[in-house]
């Protein structure tokens, strides 16, 4: 029973985790992880109207503009991915 559980329950959990964007694994790179954090941050700002208007006031921009910019920035928020060494 134990081996079964080890091979089913937990691996299933990990499979389940892997199906969601933003989850990580033991071999994730610093760049990937931080990129996810940035996207989460931007999404959080877009999703919380008070934060949105706060940034709009700080930046002196329209709320819509801020929203748009945040959304745009989600594409490569930390710049292009670093070159892989191995290939």
């Amino acid at each position: 029973m134990s081996s079964e559980l080890r091979y089913t329950a937990n691996t299933q959990l990990e499979h389940l985790h892997a199906r969601y964007t933003g989850t990580g694994h033991a071999d994730i790179s610093k760049y990937d992880w931080i990129t996810h954090q940035h996207r989460d941050t931007l999404a959080s700002i877009v999703g919380h109207p008070p934060l949105n208007s706060y940034l709009a006031i700080a930046d002196g921009e329209a709320i819509g503009r801020i929203k748009f910019e945040m959304t745009e920035r989600m594409l490569q928020p930390c710049g292009p991915p670093p070159r892989r060494d191995d290939d």
Binding site: L5, R6, A9, W33, Q37, D40, T41, A58, G79
Partner: protein, 1146 residues
Amino acid sequence: MSSEPRLVDSFTAPKEILEEFANLAEEENVDPFAETASERQIASRQSDYHNRRFNRQAVESADAFKEGDSEESGYKEAMRLAKLEREEIRVRRAIEEKERRQRDEDQERMELDKTPPREEFEAAAKELFEISAGSKRKRRWDVGESDETKPESENIDVSQDDSLAPKKRRSRWDATPSESMATVIALDTSSKRSRWDQAPAPEDDTPVPMQPIYMNAPGLVEDKHNRFLTDEELDALLPPTGYAIVTPPPGYASVQAPARKLLATPTPVFTGFHMQDETESSAMAAAAGLAPELPTEIPGVGSLAFFKAEDAQYFAKILKEEDETQLSVDEMKERKIMRLLLKIKNGTPPVRKTALRQITDKAREFGAGPLFDKILPLLMERTLEDQERHLLVKVIDRVLYKLDDLVRPYVHKILVVIEPLLIDEDYYARVEGREIISNLSKAAGLAHMISTMRPDIDHADEYVRNTTARAFSVVASALGIPSLLPFLKAVCRSKKSWQARHTGIRIVQQIAIMMGCAVLPHLRNLVDAIAHGLQDEQQKVRTMTALGLAALAEASAPYGIESFDSVLKPLWNGVRVHRGKGLAAFLKAIGFIIPLMDPEYANYYTKGVNPILIREFGTSDEEMKKIVLKVVKQCAATEGVTAEYIKMEILPDFFKAFWVRRMALDRRNYRQVVDTTVELAQKAGVSVIVGKIADGLKDDAEPYRKMVMETITKVVATLGAADIDEGLEVRLVDGIIYSFQEQTTEDQVMLDGFGTVVNALGIRVKPYLTQIVSTVLWRLNNKSAKVRQQAADLTTRLAVVIKQCGEDGLLSKLGVVLFEQLGEEYPDTLGSIIAALGAIANVVGMTQMQPPVKDLLPRMTPILRNRHEKVQEASINLIGRIADRGAEFVPAREWMRICFELLDLLKAHKKGIRRAAVNSFGYIAKTLGPQDVLSVLLTNLRVQERQSRVCSTVAIAIVAETCGPFTCIPAILAEYRTAELNVRTGCLKALSFVFEYVGPQSAYYCDSVVTMLEDALTDRDLVHRQTASTIVKHLALGVAGLGCEDSMLHLMNLVWPNCFETSPHVIGAVMEAIEAMRVTLGPGVLLSYVLQGLFHPARKVREVYWRIYNSLYLGAADALVPFYPDFSELSEGPNVFDRHPLQMFI
């Protein structure tokens, strides 16, 4: 003295004792499983139709994706073979027909005494000669094709195939079996014409039908009594001297040889003496039963669970010890596979498991050929049993995954073996078959599957076509309908043979049956593909098309009527034109399409189809009856059909045709009639239907009464009894009482009916109650236990209504009688009696209960010891009810006695009993105060049985819930200090349930249990830490947001190090505790723990931490945003890791 006869000349044991010993001696040799053995064999319990699978031929299918020309020849050959096989069957039928006619003629001739029928005999011989020569050619794969088969196109596309067809010479190979009669006559005349100038046929030419090639013929042994002696054998037999061996004269040819050649059966010709190699011969001997001891120890395999005589011939090579150094690599491989297969097939579960894993891992190494050459013959063995088949199929499944496209050459062979599973009566076998074929089609690819199965589509044998159609539907569901559609369309339009069209349409039908509503996106295409079949010239094709449409409509209900537009008209016309089976199919199709229609169309079509339905009401065909009933049901259910119409048009004929005694006798008819009537009642109303059939309750035939009762039950249960007028009410109740009293079989139907009708009538039964109750009372004293049981069951159902009618006197009378019956010895009856008492106690209440509760309960205490499940459940329910409502009527001492009895019930198998017992502890504790009950339960933690301990912990928790946690937690904490491990674990478990049940209340107790949890979380015992983690989880979830963060953080620090545990239950509990902490402490705190190890140099650490991070992230991704650390220092080159938007402030 001596002349006096001895009184007893010898002492012997009495005859019966001797016989007994003789019987005993015989019994020792008796195999107790012999009788069931044949039932376990799949082949022996299946029908002839299923066993037709043994007649199938499998061909090696070429791999279409390999280079070289093998592809064309493979497919072409397969088609040619299929054709030849068809011809073979045709000719065989023709011969049979001819023989039959000849016999008839002979008969006449004998009577008329005319010339001997020698000419006919010769003609038959000649024809046979031709056939056998033809069949011989069939085996010669290397020879070029005969001109009949030359023009065969290798293209898969059948429509193209058909376009080529007219160009080729019209040959009789194309003839359908229906024409075979004509062909026979043609053959006949031609042979008659040339009869006279024929050379005499060789003697000994009895018609030898061609042997089918069985896949399971592992070496054919000719009867050794008939074979010729070889020179060596003669040398051994005869003395060496005293005679001379004469050489045969020149020109002499042995007479047997040519005769043999002429007859040339395709079975391996026996040429001289065949010296068996030693291993094989011993195995053969074993197979023949010469060596009755079957081995259970096989060298290199170990001990097996069983070994059958039939196994010996398959596993001959590994039964004997042999020198492995002498073997070639391939032979070694073969033996390895055989050993593994034997282990899987006959081994014990652990042996089987490892062998299965090995064969899976090494599948590619072994190769598809050697593997399937061994597996498939085993699956075709006639003595195969379910378990063996299951295991072998499992092997194929596993191996398929590994082999992937290497299986291509074996696709057909596998299909021949697996397809029969698709029509197996066992559901799981069908599922297994589907699984394999779907995997197979994924591995081999669509094109290959089509080219492999194409030849079987117009196979002469209906069995083959049937299974092939099912296999195709599996392929369609595995690879998607769209990919198969072009092929299906082509097949359904095939001009070459009606069999192909028939099979194509059947594939569509099977797809619909198998895939259900998943056909909807392709509905129009599928309907269009088969629509033209409604006008086919072949009756069978038309029928199948109608069935296919019915299946499609059933699968797509309630959508997709627009897709059926094109077929409505032909179906409609077909219904008017057809008779018999064809009509049944068309009606079925219409019946399934009508529910999809808009109300007004449905109404129109129902009206149109009704005359035909009514005409067919009187049919004697069972199948037609069922379909008619089904269609009536579907028509009645549609919105557009009015009640008036049903009452006027359908009901009179319906009742005349179907509400007859004969219909009640067949189980399936019975079902259909009941269902259809209930459906009609939905429209026509209760009084119409019940009024028509109520008199049937007094019918002489019991099955008919039952059918009436079941229908009334269902109608009244769905529609109520408000519609029933006074006259009908009298008839109904009268009939029900009559049929209840007259029933001879013990059945739920009458009981349910009685209960349902009486409950539906409610207060209106009051006038009849005296009569009913006296019936019950009388039957409660019946001789038969079953009758008493039914009376008690009826009381259970009537209790509510009797109370409604205000007849409390009757209830207490019943109660007293039932109480007197508690000495009942039949447990089933006793259970019913107790349940009835419970029902009465329920409706009257504890104070008014007669007999008084204080008398009833002590009487129940000894009954609790009864081991019968039904008794246990009924009594625990009654006791629980009394404890809940009327505990104060019973002295505390009695309750304590019951408490001890209840502990035994915690061991019950049925969960319901355990749950009821546990709940009863709660009620009792509420009346008595928790102390005594708690001490009983805590003491029970010391017992051996786990289940009993677990239930005690649950009971403790329930006591805590009902009496307040403060009454229990101190006692639990004190008990935790016992040195005994079981008790400590039990305490922890009880605490975990307590916190689970009390929820937010735990905030008051969280500080008091922290020290105990510290101890438990730092214990060496894994289970302790696991259970403690569970407590922490429940506690943390309970106190979330209630200001216990300090103690929770402390517990978190103790739980956290356990995250590296590997035992699954422990790690599960720990992870859940950590998750719960996320809720209480907030994700930020958790993140600070997790960040420590996300990029730890040790992978084992990283893996665990990432798993925690992921669950944290999934639980609170948004909330983590403010807590992510600032990574600006790590920025390098184009990658800037600052989170600028967060750095802004006003």
